[in-house]
Amino acid sequence: MSKLLIKGGRVIDPAAGLDGIRDVLLESGKVKEIGVRVKGQGARVIEAKGMLVFPGLIDMHVHLRDPGRPDKETIASGSRAAALGGFTTICCMANTEPPIDNPAAVEYIIAKARTEAAVNVLPIAAVTKGLRGEELAEIGRCRMEGAVAFSDDGHPIMRADMMRRALEYTRQFDVPVIAHCEDTGLSAGGTMNEGAVSTEIGLPGIPSLSEEIMVARDVLLAREYGRVHIAHVSCARSVKFIRDARREGASVTCETCPHYFTLTEDAVRHYDPNTKVNPPLRTKADRQAIIRGLRDGTIEVIATDHAPHTVDDKNVEFNQAANGLVGLETALGLVLTELVGKKALTLKEAVAKLTANPARILRLAGKGTLRPGADADLIVVDPRQTWQVDPRQFASKSRNTPFTGWTLKGKVIHTIVGGKQIVRDGQFA
């Protein structure tokens, strides 16, 4: 494999505690050398002066809709969207049709990714058979096939005893259970956050308590039984419960998504189905609490919950529209614009939440860092370039974003996966 030398960029590698101008030499799919001046004889040179160089981003929460809904997304299209957005590793959720709840399904994803994926695709397998919340899936055999975490995302595990068994059982494999926290009784029938706005525009509400109650339950269970990672945290009291549990030493980590630190329920006022997502966009106070949680380290991960849907599934009555929005191609821009640009996070803190932290939580050896010997997954970002979100340009098959027309700062220029350049000058190489 050819050698690549990324020269003179500002390298930010939180796992190595590094923020400085460095050259990075990639060789044979690995980081060979990193230093102030690296020779790299015979290497193709990528000039990165004035650019930012990050370890390839890791998104631990993506829906690729394979198997089952190739009209919404495939491993090929979703992974290309990831590459354009700066993600070199994505973890796909198990709620496909049929679900990834057995070792053959895990093997299918891995085999398919090998032939068609533009970036690393790592499957997350179901906690319970058929995502029904009743019996444990073959977690051990799925793990052996390559599942990196376990989750019934989209189908909350309502029985506390089931969640207890899941947390206990997964301990032997050192993998997290990723919890979709939602009391389906409290959320039943709802389509947006319950509060002044839902009352005003006459849509059925989902109280934030439906999330908070389950977060409270799961952090309590984690204290006794195992390791939990709370998915898509959207409200203030969830952050508080997680912060308190972590202080008390529980094995709890969590993620939030760009839409929860960027938007509030106000965005729903005009019934735009692209603002319909589960958990729903919350209040201003919730958004501020999410940002505080990101700042103080309670929320260690930013994930997209990339949820592609066809126009037909979205362009209907709000109550009828599918939940979710696509995020892979806007996430980094939103992080740089809304968090780093507004001084909520330093660049290094932000990059950690997209690289080192998910790699640590998922125990991904050689990922999320540019230390010598690590996988040659790397991106080059132009911090000054502004761009407008235009869904027609997405590599994703779906266009369901609430950020159409937004101007974001920070553009992915190059994406390198395993030493191979996938994106060059913002286009597929």
Partner: protein, 313 residues
Amino acid sequence: MNKVKGLRSKDLLGLKDLSVEEIKLILETARSMKEIMLRPIPKVPTLLGKHIVTLFYEPSTRTRTSFNTAAKILSANITNVQMSTTSVVKGESLIDTIKNLEVMGLDCIVIRHSMGGAPHLAAKNCSASVINAGDGFNEHPTQGLLDIFTMIDKRQTVRGKKVVIVGDILHSRVARSNIWGLKKLGAEVVVVGPPTLMPVGIEQMGVRVSYHLDREIGDADFINMLRIQKERMEKGLFPSIEEYSQLYGLNAERMKKAKRDVVVMHPGPINRGVEITSEVADGPFNVILEQVTNGVAVRTAILFLLLGGQNGA
């Protein structure tokens, strides 16, 4: 008739979006329309050649008939399309239905739908005028306007008057349209009902919440009783019809506390003996049937203002 001023939008989606001037224009126009209705031949050629369709995804007798009557007063053609409730989920998409109606040359679509925001989606996807005839829990603007028309008809103004709205506020589009309009016109609004039927944050719409009808009735100028649906009880939002009636029903005993000139209203259809007893519903304070008559006047006015402007009256 005065010089025809217009409404700003091609659609009537809710009282939330109307200015005070627009509300007043509709009410004034409705007054003229009511005069036309009292003529020996209540028909004018204003909307001759215009075609209106009612597209109802929920059952309705009163509202649909009222729109039909209004259309006929103005000499418009009207077609009624009844969609089954299941067609929302399984049938043709709303946008496709709207676009089909539009290319048939329809000028106005009157839509009732079980989901909030459905008329907004329709309005965005066609150039015909869309009138919201009730969308989910959101709004029922023509009902709100006819209620306000009736109140002003009875007491000259609503400014400074106390309006008590009683019942299932959570699921009521009538309540929301009343609140938007009444607050804009300076009324005091109190919503009364069990806490389980009270939407979160309703105070932010400028109303006061009360759980005690008896405490609110004494100085009320208007009492607007909402229909309570049995299905809410089945979902566990209140324990029994009997208990509901006892706590929130309007009966003769309770009416003794009311002002002597209080006005009792109900958007219909009435559950006699549940939210209101027959004695009160048919009693001296009620204006329930006048509301229905005024509904025709208000809907005639709205059709006139939305469709009649460009041709001149």
